[in-house]
């Protein structure tokens, strides 16, 4: 699944560690989500959407 997490993070000038802090996960998890190595759970996806005040589908989308 593709996502815009890296772009959204860059817009806010956050490091991976800072984003991880906001999401209460490890920096490794943020890195894995950004590089597409890990698809977040629904709970974490909602947390990400809430943090960026956007609908989930504007952050994550299928690779079609």
């Amino acid at each position: 699944m593709k996502n815009r997490l890296k772009v959204l993070r860059a817009e806010r000038d956050w490091s991976q560690a800072e984003l991880a802090m906001h999401l209460d996960v490890s920096r490794q998890a943020v890195n894995a989500i950004e590089t597409g190595k890990h698809d977040p759970s629904l709970t974490l996806a909602f947390r990400i959407a809430r943090l960026f005040a956007m609908p989930i589908e504007e952050i994550f989308h299928d690779e079609v």
Binding site: A17, A20, Q28, T35, G36
Partner: protein
């Protein structure tokens, strides 16, 4: 409040880092054990590998809930190990019979059981690292 969150992240990050380090050390120890079972290595290498592997496996088991990413790595390794064990128990006696026939040797049940454990652990680390590298 912010400091508490920051401290929590630091601990989550540190735990994730320790977890991954343990996984790498466990994989190296498993590789050394495999080499030691084929090539004549000093006894202390085998002993050290078993020790490192045990510590690594305990840490991996106990600390797998660091966060959902780490949990996913554990699940991937566990799935690989499960499939490897099923395949091992289905085909190992068959393969063992062929090898025994070829070498005209009879292998005992101890060797078979020990082999299964090593297969499962090897498969676990293979699955873990596949997921870690490729997602």
């Amino acid at each position: 409040m912010f400091d508490a969150t920051k401290a929590n992240l630091r601990s989550t990050d540190t735990r994730a880092r320790i977890y991954l380090t343990c996984a790498h050390m466990g994989a190296i120890a498993t590789a050394l054990l495999i080499v030691a079972s084929i090539a004549p290595l000093p006894d202390f290498v085998r002993g050290l590998s078993v020790g490192v592997l045990l510590v690594s496996l305990i840490v991996l088991l106990v600390r797998r809930r660091v966060d959902e990413y780490i949990d996913g790595l554990w699940a991937s390794g566990a799935s690989f190990a499960f499939v490897a064990m099923v395949v091992w128990f289905l085909f190992a006696p068959f393969l063992s019979g062929i090898v025994d026939d070829l070498l005209r040797q009879v292998s005992g049940p101890t060797d078979f059981a020990r082999g299964g454990g090593l297969v499962a652990i090897t498969a676990f680390f293979a699955g873990f690292h596949c997921k870690w590298l490729r997602g």
